[in-house]
């Protein structure tokens, strides 16, 4: 094993020598430094190799030829090898990114950087307590110098504040080191760790040491000086501080905690407080570097508390800590390096990255990695952490971690939204130099690679879940191809799935077959509509496929980890799809926040489950005994955020309405079913548990009210897509209500409604979307009379609204029939009445939809519009065929469904008798009804056709209307606010009280953040006072 003293020798020797070379040999000195940094990386990697491949054992290298404690020892173990590898790679890339800065007369910068990284290596390797002090000071002075080089506006005062804070903190450490020596005669770490009974002085000494290391890690609130460093220095330096120095200090803390088990609770408390407070205060930041500073402090706080949780986490500790550390390390460095490419410090300036899409993608990768989405390492780390905390009953800690993570998600996604949507013309063009690009690209790639590798290793994630991700990566690389090629590839992939992987499920698991069918077939159909778009449609296909991949993984999952994995991936893909809409920035954000909140609820629920069952199988939910109510509630709430139940629905109208024309059917018809599937699984697993019956009853009410509010709100909309969005909310309320009944008939209702909703909502959204593409507006009152120009669209919408309304002969009636049977059987008459009433209200908006858009008078500006695009028409009519088929021969679908449901609800009153379906309350024949009505329809149609031969055609304005002869279409086609009367009577039900509630909550949080940030007054001396106060308070707390 290479001696670590070579690191020391090369680093210092070269640094000293460089003083000789001076100004003229600048280029050669830069190259020499590069070589030295390369050798550092080489040495670290050689150690890593030896530990991973050759099973080397931990070695201590003594100095001066004597053994410790009489000399100083450096230890090289697996942990040290990993940390030094990380640090040295960071050093290499930092130097590369600063290459250009080296040239402008900054020849001292190189040696300082070299010594800084050598010092960080030593901090990781040393086993001598006083040696740590010496190298801490080296780090401090080197950093002080690095802060200055850029001559950014406030670098000097930031550097000074840093120096004085650092001076105070390191002196505390010095005191601790001296006391350790005095109390037990040794400065060797292993000696102190082996102490059994520590004398009081040793305890004080250890306390001081740990306290000073915690202070170095910038705990809240004694961290004002740190924020100024992040804001005042060049972002490349911020990268070094956050990633390299942060990781080193954390490792140092971990090392020294070996002798300080009594301080673990302190670490947990300080760490979590910093995590939550920093993320809270970050909400109101506008400066990108300062924001990254807050985020760094927060993440480091989380890792501090994880270090404190070492004993609780047991043998999972290293895994959790490392996963979160490596994500923080790679993502933060990447973000700071991205920041270094921009001239402006503002958050919105990052929208310039849209010009070079690879940078935007990298930005997205870093953000998603920080929040803990799969497939990044932090996902597995957080999952394992939550599971372990649940097992040890630390529920408050789980809540704290999830709250802090949620706050982080808020500002990070808002930032991403700015980058994707904000107009960038007022910001400077970003010049991409190779030396700035290479580090960012490498770290982004490393993040992805490490995540995918971890997925491969994790028990509980089947390898099959990774293939879609790799496929998506390939599609991304092919993004330069025209849209129709990518569309074909995507459809081919989904078709492969549908025809190869899907069919076996029919026998295996019909429930999954149905949902997979909805997602896959629905995917193909909605993608066909994509052919209508010309050009390249950059960025659409990777994210659309991401969403579908997530859906597929979700359904196929057999472990809770895979389930959650699929859930998050689906959310990520759908977020990007939604935010593509022109006015979608805020809707994308609110969608994401609700999704993440729901995801955390699910995570908490699954964690609590694991704590009891110790089994990551999905069906283990069935064996939950303790906290069943809580788990059920958490999981239900999580799924309901996806189905937009009342209270959690405010994101949906905006998100679905503002999305692109072919995205709306994807998210409304298809994506919402993911939540339904989740609810199904939940009910299947936990339905028999007697404790959940009361919650199910409440869910029934929620479903009923959702249906009512959704349908009423839809009636008052002027925007066609919003109308359909509210209608979706209502339909899902029906499904929720039906599920909550927990009976055979109830679940039949739910399944039938799900299938139907998928079909008719897809038809309606596709058609209206196609119409919008032609007409150029969402507002219904601006349309009218389009039946003349778009007969295909008219027929489609007509079929759609008949199906939705539940009027026979179309399939909606099947749903209604089962619904009435189920309600009568269950006895939920009052809720049933509400749902029935809301079904009638649905007629209002269905009528409004078809009347305002297609009937009435054609407006002048629309006289030349073409019919809807053929590419939209194809999927629409395929779906219409589906509805027709289902309506004509319902028993082909219903019988297998009924049989499937008997495995959970064996006693059913349903019986299938040829063409008739019988229940306790009556019977129905879908085919019979269809034939009857078809005959009536054809007879009437023929009769009208015959009559119309004798008809006289009249011009559009050959009418007299209330004794006036109008000349303009607007005056005869009244469609604006036609339900004003109903609004007066019932409008109070749909007043946006829930939106106001959520707004009040978010305003409150923001005001707390504004209040909190005031402690950072900017005065360096005040920060010193904070530090001293922190010391005194902690000391006092410990004395007790």
């Amino acid at each position: 094993m290479v001696s670590p003293y070579f690191l020391l020798g090369i680093g210092l020797g070269l640094a000293f020598l460089l003083g000789l070379l001076g100004q003229k040999a600048r280029k050669s000195s830069s190259i020499l430094i590069l070589v030295a940094l390369f050798s550092f990386v080489g040495i670290s990697f050689s150690w890593l190799w030896q530990f991973l491949q050759e099973n080397a054992s931990v070695t201590q290298f003594f100095s001066a030829g004597f053994k410790p404690p009489f000399s100083i020892a450096l230890q090289v173990g697996l942990h040290e090898a990993v940390l030094t590898s990380m640090i040295n790679v960071m050093g290499l890339f930092s130097f590369v990114s600063l290459w250009r800065n080296m040239k402008d007369g900054n020849e001292k910068l190189g040696p300082i950087l070299l010594i800084l990284f050598m010092g960080l290596n030593m901090l990781v390797l040393t086993r001598d307590i006083f040696n740590v002090f010496v190298f801490l000071e080296i780090t401090a002075i080197a950093l002080g110098g690095l802060i200055l080089f850029d001559e950014k506006k406030h670098a000097r005062s930031a550097g000074f504040k840093y120096l004085i804070a650092s001076a105070l903190i390191s002196t505390i450490y010095l005191l601790g080191a001296v006391l350790i020596y005095f109390s037990n005669g040794s400065l060797y770490l292993d000696d102190v760790m082996a102490l059994n009974n520590m004398s009081p002085m040793a305890i004080v000494a250890v306390f001081l040491l740990i306290l000073s290391l915690v202070l170095e890690l910038k705990p809240f609130p004694a961290n004002g000086w740190a924020l100024d460093v992040y804001q005042g220095a060049n972002p490349a330096i911020g990268a070094i501080v956050s990633a390299a120095i942060g990781s080193t200090m954390l490792f140092l803390l971990y090392k020294l905690m070996g002798m300080a088990a009594f301080m673990q609770e302190f670490l947990i408390a300080v760490g979590l407080i910093s995590f939550i407070a920093s993320n809270l205060l970050a909400l109101v930041q506008k400066n990108a570097n300062r924001l990254l500073g807050y985020s760094s402090i927060g993440q480091i706080g989380l890792i501090i508390s994880i270090i404190g949780l070492k004993d609780i986490l047991g043998d999972q500790f290293l895994f959790v800590a490392f996963m979160i550390l490596i994500t923080h390390f790679l993502a933060k460095a990447g973000l700071f390096w991205l920041s270094a490419m921009l001239k402006s410090d503002e958050l919105k300036a990052w929208s310039v990255f849209r010009k070079k899409s690879v940078l935007l993608v990298l930005f997205g990768i870093f953000i998603f990695a920080l929040i803990g989405f799969p497939p990044f390492p932090s996902f597995y780390g957080k999952w394992t952490l939550i599971i372990n905390l649940a097992e040890t009953h630390n529920y408050y800690l789980i809540a704290a971690i999830l709250i802090g993570s949620f706050l982080e998600a808020i500002y990070l996604f808002r930032w991403l939204g700015y980058a994707i949507k904000v107009d960038f013309t007022e910001y400077d063009e970003v010049k991409i130099n190779w030396e700035k690009l290479i580090p960012v690209l490498t770290f982004g790639a490393l993040l992805l690679a490490s995540g995918l590798y971890m997925a491969h290793l994790m028990p509980g994630i089947e390898d099959i879940t990774l293939w879609p991700l790799l496929f998506i990566l390939a599609i991304y690389l092919l993004d330069f191809l025209p849209a129709y090629i990518k569309n074909t590839i995507s459809i081919a992939a989904l078709a492969y799935f549908s025809f190869i992987i899907l069919p076996p499920y029919y026998e295996k698991d019909l429930l999954r077959f149905i949902f997979l069918g909805i997602f896959a077939i629905g995917g193909i159909l909605t993608l066909i509509a994509g052919y209508a778009y010309k050009g390249k449609r950059r960025g659409f296909y990777p994210v659309a496929l991401l969403m579908y991949a997530g859906l597929i993984v979700l359904i196929q999952a057999e472990t809770t980890l895979s389930f959650f994995f699929g859930w998050e991936i689906m959310t990520a893909g759908s977020y990007f799809l939604i935010i593509r809409g022109k006015r979608s920035m805020e809707h994308g954000l609110s969608y994401m926040l609700f999704s993440i909140g729901g995801a955390y609820a699910i995570l908490a629920g699954l964690g609590l489950t694991f704590a009891q069952t110790h089994n990551i199988d999905i069906l283990s939910l069935a064996s939950v005994t303790v906290h069943a109510k809580l788990i059920f509630l958490l999981l239900a709430v999580g799924f309901l955020t996806k189905t937009a139940a009342l209270g959690l629905h405010i994101w949906l109208p905006g998100a679905h309405a503002e999305a692109e024309s072919d995205v709306s059917p994807m998210v409304s018809a298809i994506l919402l079913k993911a939540g339904v599937f989740g609810l199904f699984i939940l009910m299947i697993a936990m339905g028999k548990n007697p404790e959940v019956a009361s919650i199910a009853y409440i869910l029934g009410w929620v479903g009923a009210l959702t249906a009512l509010v959704g349908n009423l709100a839809a009636a008052f909309q002027e925007d066609a897509k919003r109308l359909l969005a509210y209608s979706s909310i209502a339909q899902l309320g029906y499904i929720l209500f039906a599920l909550a009944m927990m009976s055979h008939l109830g679940w039949m209702t739910a399944m039938v409604y799900s299938l139907n909703h998928f079909m008719y909502k897809a038809i309606l959204f596709l058609t209206i979307g196609a119409v919008v593409l032609r007409v150029g507006t969402h507002s219904m009152y601006k349309m009218g009379g389009l039946i003349q120009r778009m007969p295909l669209a008219f027929i489609a919408v007509l079929v759609g609204i008949i199906a939705l309304s539940g009027v026979p002969p179309l399939s909606g009636f099947a749903g209604k029939w089962f619904f009435y049977n189920a309600v009568l059987e269950k006895g939920w008459y009052f809720q049933g009445a509400i749902v029935f009433f809301s079904g009638i209200v649905a007629f209002l908006y269905l009528f409004k939809l078809i009347y305002s858009v297609f009937l009435g008078q054609l407006k002048d500006n629309l006289r030349q519009v073409k019919d809807i695009s053929i590419w939209f028409a194809i999927p629409i009519y395929v779906l219409i065929l589906g509805i027709m088929f289902f309506s004509a021969k319902p028993e082909w679908v219903l019988q297998p469904l009924s049989d499937m449901l008997t495995q959970w609800y064996p006693n059913t009153s349903l019986s299938f008798d040829g063409l008739y379906i019988n229940s306790n309350f009556g019977y129905w024949s879908g085919t019979g009804v269809m034939i009857t009505i078809m005959i009536m329809f054809i007879v009437l149609l023929l009769w009208l056709w015959i009559l119309s031969r004798k008809v006289v055609k009249v011009k559009q304005f050959n009418i007299v209307y209330s004794a006036e002869a109008p000349q303009r279409p607007e005056t005869t086609h009244v469609s604006y606010n036609i339900f004003a009367g109903y609004y007066k009577a019932l409008g109070w039900i749909v007043a946006p009280k829930i939106s106001e509630l959520w707004n009040k909550i978010s305003d409150f949080v923001v005001s707390v953040a504004h209040f909190g940030r005031m402690i950072y007054t900017g005065n360096g001396q005040t920060y010193l006072v904070h530090i001293l106060a922190f010391i005194v308070v902690t000391f006092l707390w410990f004395l007790n």
Partner: protein, 123 residues
């Protein structure tokens, strides 16, 4: 004994630490803050040296007469605190020098040595 050497040394060390801290936290002038830090460092160094004190013993330097290679373990004090203090003093010097230069450059830009004037980065 209350006025023994070690008590006096400890007391003066702690006193200097407190004076230094007070000075650093209450003075507005940056140069005075730096001087106060210097006092603070000195106090800590005095504490360290005190921890090496052993009554009746002499310095660990072999001179062949009073202290020989044979009896040194009985008549000389611990050499380690001396080494630690040496390091600490030098490091303190380095930090102080750097702080002073920072103060110089801050003054150059803004013509003020009052720390309250440097609060641009905040919140």
């Amino acid at each position: 004994m209350l006025l023994s050497i070690e008590n006096i040394a400890l007391a003066s060390g702690i006193l200097l630490i407190l004076i230094g801290l007070l000075g650093a936290l209450t003075n507005k002038n940056i140069i005075r803050m730096i001087v106060a830090f210097s006092i603070f460092d000195t106090g800590v160094n005095i504490l360290i040296v005190t921890f090496g004190y052993m009554p009746g013993r002499t310095a660990p330097i072999i001179d062949g007469a009073k202290v020989t290679a044979q009896n040194i373990a009985q008549v000389a004090i611990d050499p380690v605190p001396q080494a630690l203090v040496l390091t600490a003093i030098v490091i303190g010097f380095g930090v102080t020098a750097l702080m002073l230069v920072f103060a110089l450059k801050m003054h150059e830009k803004r013509k003020s040595l009052d720390i309250n004037d440097y609060t641009d980065l905040k919140w």
